[in-house]
Amino acid sequence: MSLASEPAAQPSRKSKSSLSRWGSPALGLLLPLGLAVGWELAVRAGWSNGRLVPPPSVIYATFAELAKTGELQRHAAATLARVVSGFGIGVIVGTVLGAITGYSMLVRRFIDPSLQALRAIPSIAWVPLFILWLGIFEASKVTLIAVGVFFPVYLGVMAAVMSVDRKIVEVGRAFRLSGFKMVRRILLPAVLPAYITALRSGLGLGWMFVVAAEFMGASEGLGFLLVDGQQLGKPAQIVAAIVAFALIGKVTDWLIVGISTPFLRWEDRFKSPAAQD
């Protein structure tokens, strides 16, 4: 083993760092796991009937049951479809408007004040209007999600384009880049880190707004499971739907991070994972 030839201090330092690397996430899991196990035991011991706060085993059973009948998949797919369409629309509009307003001061002066004023309205307040305009079916829901996604993306892209370093752009000009080549070789890579951050906050809002949208009356979707669970007094179904939200939300966020990571290895970040190569 090559370790044998290394100084004696090396292995001990390594093991210490790996301990702190694995130690901290495990530490974070301790509290929720402890609570879950504790609650489970409390219900089994008969200290509580667990009717309003179902123990983990009941939640798991509900989750498994919903998954077995295909209900869970159907509702999750409906919700995911709404988020994906709303996110897509919000991202496209937000990116285009953000890029234009970031690039042109004239356009920024012209439309940014109006958009900022609209942003001051809590987006849920639009719901009655969207329902009047677009009906109670998919269109109003997707629109609400798109509005939620739009603002963080728009703001993020505008700020990113505005803050592209003039000196770096000048390097592009000195190499006679213009138009599309300038965008591809200088502007796009320069705004990418901020863009990914904007997409992630947009996605987060998208997941928040889909719940609001599905509360307003839906015949399917994870939000429907929540409302249904409340009306029929099935707390385990509510928690199962919440767990499904958390899982799918996290997975979609991971997708963005995973897809973008190879393009962002250059970033000079504090504790960037790429800094170890």
Partner: protein, 262 residues
């Protein structure tokens, strides 16, 4: 041949930065431009590079007016300005996009060897020291083989040892293809070490005040008396360029006052 014909620049805020600059620089010549802060050196260099256009007059390269950045003109800024999302090799090859990959790789590798950074080809710019980053910037500007290379105080942010090291690097790179070099500096020693000819500028509006030949043999010995003579000459000219009227009585004999010029 690079020629400046009556080049003047007035910025849109009314600052009259340059007035009637005329000079020619031959192929392979090294010209240093020195002058007080704010006397228009950067403005002049940007006008030559085509990044800015002069308000009057024109810059002519080989009979062709320079109106925008030109493929025969390279520029090195005070900061390295490397693109953080490209590796060192990617930065050096930035100006060779349109060449076949094999040629690009070969020229990048050669340039990196010449600046002593072939072992850094794959690393990100964030991992370089200031001197290494500026060497990459030099390689990037030279790799497309420009006829004219412009340098705006390229070494002023570096410590004295690194600066001398990079001056040597620059000279050895210059010797490969002998482009025209126009170097703005506020380091008189740097000007005398590198240049064949030293232009002293005078501020408000910026114009050429004096022109000093530095025809010393190369490589130049910073300790020699001939070197010192040219340096004193340049410093005296700088002092005079900054005195408002004709009061230049002791500037010629007292070069120590010149230390205050920038």
């Amino acid at each position: 041949m690079l020629t400046l014909e009556h080049v003047g620049k007035t910025y849109s805020n009314g600052v009259h930065a340059l007035a009637d600059i005329n000079f020619s620089v031959g192929p392979g010549e090294i010209v240093a431009i020195v002058g007080g802060s704010g006397c228009g050196k950067s403005t002049l260099l940007r006008a030559i590079s085509g990044l800015d256009t002069p308000s009057t007059g024109r810059v002519v390269l080989d009979g062709e007016a320079v109106m925008q950045p030109h493929e025969k003109i390279g520029i090195i800024f005070q900061e390295p300005r490397l693109l953080p999302w490209l590796s060192v090799a990617g930065n050096v090859g930035f100006g060779l996009e349109d060449r076949p990959k094999a040629e690009r790789d070969a020229r990048v590798a050669e340039a990196l060897t010449r600046v002593g950074l072939s072992d850094k080809a794959g690393v990100w710019p964030r991992e370089l020291s200031g001197g290494q980053a500026q060497r990459v910037a030099i390689a990037r500007a030279l790799v497309p083989r420009p006829e004219v290379l412009l340098l705006d105080e390229p070494f002023s942010a570096l410590d004295a040892f690194t600066r001398v090291d990079l001056q040597d690097h620059l000279l050895s790179l210059w010797a490969d293809t002998k482009p025209t070099l126009i170097l703005v500096t506020h380091d008189v020693d740097e000007a005398v070490v590198l240049a064949d000819r030293i232009m002293v500028m005078k501020p408000r509006p910026g114009r050429i005040f004096d022109e000093i030949q530095a025809d010393l043999p190369r490589p130049r010995d910073r300790q020699s008396s001939a070197f010192d003579r040219v340096r004193r000459h340049v410093m005296a000219a700088l002092d005079r360029s900054l005195s408002r009227s004709g009061h230049n009585s002791n500037a010629e004999t007292d070069p120590s006052g010149a230390a205050l010029w920038w």
